[in-house]
Symmetry: C2
Subunit: 292 residues, 2 copies
Amino acid sequence: MEIVRTVTELRQRLEPVRAKGRVGLVPTMGAFHEGHLSLMRRARAECTAVVVSLFVNPAQFGPHEDLERYPRNLAADCAFAENEGVDLLFAPPVDEVYPAGFRTYVDVEGLTERLCGAERSGHFRGVATVVTKLLCMVLPDRSYFGEKDYQQLQVIRRLARDLNLPGEIVSCPIVREPDELAMSSRNRYLTPAERVSARAVPRAWQAVRACFAAGERAPDALLDVARRVLEAEPGIRVNYVELVDAVDLTPIARVTAPALLALAAFVGKTRLIDNTVLCPEQVEAAPEERST
Amino acid sequence: MEIVRTVTELRQRLEPVRAKGRVGLVPTMGAFHEGHLSLMRRARAECTAVVVSLFVNPAQFGPHEDLERYPRNLAADCAFAENEGVDLLFAPPVDEVYPAGFRTYVDVEGLTERLCGAERSGHFRGVATVVTKLLCMVLPDRSYFGEKDYQQLQVIRRLARDLNLPGEIVSCPIVREPDELAMSSRNRYLTPAERVSARAVPRAWQAVRACFAAGERAPDALLDVARRVLEAEPGIRVNYVELVDAVDLTPIARVTAPALLALAAFVGKTRLIDNTVLCPEQVEAAPEERST
């Protein structure tokens, strides 16, 4: 595995590869966990050359967020990536991505104002801008993103389509700890006690899924179930619990099409997110439902 | 010359060409005049394949602007382009560029608020968005833009650098009528009487250049010269006359580095723009100046 720091080097290394086969890109902010590794494995299985970008993007952090303390460990990340057969690790310094005079931003309207966008003003502008840049730098045939950041995934799908960015956006399922907590680089902020409290987050959507499987289709009733689970855990402060259309993330009156249940909660100072998609067709088509 | 209507066809046609040599792109809104043709000739001289895009971009027109009556003549444009040896004319319908659900925009901050941006709210957002899209669709080695739309050119240079868009941005000099009026598709809106009035626009910057050559470096004095010429012509209503830094388009206290004199004026209902760059070094280095 080679580590490159500049866009010029990156393009030089990719030039000969491109003719031979498919280039895959896994954009990351480092601090790799099994979620990242699952994206690298999928890329490795599908592509001739796998590029992992590692860049803690200042543009997607708010002024009071955790940019400074976001976990960074290049040596460990290199070992992980090498072990997954990654060909190129692109780890640019900040001024390679945002040189002096930088002033161009990408906005995806209507998908970025709600959910995490309401809490984290400017966050998705930062995400959209850096992903546009990374896709233009690498010109990948396929790019891989995790479904844990579901809203981010929809924003990226939309901007890639809207700006005619090259290649295909591939999404990969959330990878979870044995107790179902979604893998996240921010999990390492949690104290042992907070780590126990954090279990309420997956418990919340599991309770909603059970209620949904039993036939409940009213958003208010489903959201109440999630809120009750979260509020029963004293170590947790709910940021939002929402049920929206799974494609355009707009509010729904009833679950008649795939719907996203999205949760964000603070455990101590650490903000965790999680989600699940409720699909009425699948449930209604399930044999046990049909036989009634 | 082949005419293609969809991004898929466009990419299919370019695929085999790309390996053989350089792809050149000339983005246009049609209604070709000698200015456009000069861009096509330059592209033809420098590239293996020349793509001309012809798209009257609704996103760069304001609600009260001339989108509907903007001149369109595909048959004549095809003949012109064919005559210049263009390989592909990409003339997409509006919904190919802005399909249902489109919601992603590119903003270049700080370069777009002044000059034409102050008059034409949202104009440069529309330009930046469509140019980003065209560059991503074509992935050209070189793209060609005219210097008549000087602010647009600086916006495009900046966004191409900031978003790591592929290829090089090449600028070409303004092409003028024999009486020095800058070529523009909008010149065909002018009545014969307005066409005579319009001559005051190039006369204005010519007077400024003469004053600058005589040693004047104070923006107010230079701008007064331009305004006096324009205001002496009853058929003209000044929109703006500004002298700004030629790179970042910010106001200047004195001409000590290349400065852009930019003019916009209404002749009847037609808005015309023109510009010239004043370079202190060149003038000061000129033999007649040195000998004094």
